[in-house]
């Protein structure tokens, strides 16, 4: 079974209020040395045993569905233990 991870992050110019809220809460945890926090999505996709063209299919899913290009970037990586390997850069 091949596992693909798609990471989706808001573009840097889009305000991430959730990240800001976490950053703002850090001093209360006694953590003071953080410059920024950004919160995005991690999507884990398990393909069937016999699935073909995993990388290509993953890109289609990421590009069409998982990320909205107006506001987000994504990265696709095929996990170790899969038939195909290595992280794949964002488009």
């Amino acid at each position: 079974m091949a596992r693909v991870v798609v990471d989706v992050m808001l573009k840097s110019e889009i305000l991430d209020p959730q990240g800001e809220a976490v950053l703002g809460a850090l001093p209360r945890l006694g953590v003071g040395d953080v410059a920024s926090v950004r919160i995005g999505k991690r999507v884990e996709i398990e393909f069937d045993e016999h699935a073909q063209n995993i990388e290509e299919q993953s890109r289609v899913i990421a590009d069409q569905l998982l990320a909205n290009p107006v506001i987000e970037n994504f990265t696709v990586s095929i996990e170790q233990g899969s038939t195909e390997t290595g992280p794949v850069g964002a488009p």
Partner: protein, 227 residues
């Protein structure tokens, strides 16, 4: 014969009944459209209602975009059919690239339900032609992800071409340039976050200002022209 306005029900649509009531009160005939339908049942215009289509998984409207009915709506919109998207419907229109920009998590991070005071910025759309530009209206706004964002160039272009349709007077969610609703270049597709269909009866809404949205499209249709 009164105009027929299609109201789409996706799994998870919630304000479809309200949209039907508003259409009915404005004197048109509401026609239910199912997300799986390929044909549009001969409707004259389409209303994409609020709700949480497909549970709003991933991003609001992201999955609804792939429904069968949206393929037909995209084609019809391209040919000039009036389409309005309210709340989740607006999100679906942005996700479908029928309207520019995107709707993201409110800046204050919470779902908020409050009547919103809006200014109608233009009467040059199928859905606002009966409003005097500059009119103030009150529609309920209730959403967690209604912050309108787009890049500066897009925003400038929207302003320059008069495509900002509604603007918040008390920005409730951090939307860029207080934008509550926008239209496409042709002015037949309009999206907005606040709910005109919840402002159609004095008994249940904060105003009856919302009746003008459907009334506008009826005028638009009866004149048989697109502006």
């Amino acid at each position: 014969m009164s105009a027929r306005i299609g109201i789409v029900t996706f799994p998870g649509s919630l304000d479809d009944r309200d949209a039907a009531r508003a259409v009915h009160l404005a004197g048109a005939e509401p026609v239910g459209l199912w997300h799986d339908d390929t044909a549009l049942a001969g409707v004259d215009a389409v209303f994409l209602p609020g709700g949480f289509s497909y549970g709003d998984a991933l991003r609001c409207g992201a999955i609804a975009r792939f429904s069968q009915v949206m393929d037909s709506i995209k084609r019809a919109a391209g040919a000039g059919m009036p389409v309005v998207g309210v709340c989740n419907g607006f999100q679906v229109l942005c996700e479908s690239h029928l309207l520019p920009g995107a709707l993201v998590r409110n800046a204050h991070l919470r779902y908020r339900n409050r009547p919103a005071r809006l200014r109608v910025e233009t009467d040059r759309t199928a859905w606002t032609r009966l409003y005097e530009p500059g009119t103030e209206v009150v529609f309920p706004a209730k959403h967690g992800e209604g912050r309108y964002v787009a890049d500066e160039a897009t925003l400038d272009e929207l302003e320059r071409t008069g495509r900002v349709v509604f603007r918040y007077l008390d920005n409730p969610n951090g939307s860029m340039r207080d934008i509550a609703g926008v239209t496409n270049e042709a002015g037949n597709v309009v999206g907005l976050m606040p709910h005109p269909e919840h402002a159609v009866e004095a008994l249940t809404g904060p105003s009856t200002d919302g009746l003008g949205v459907v009334a506008s499209v009826l005028t638009h249709l009866s004149e048989g022209v697109s502006r």
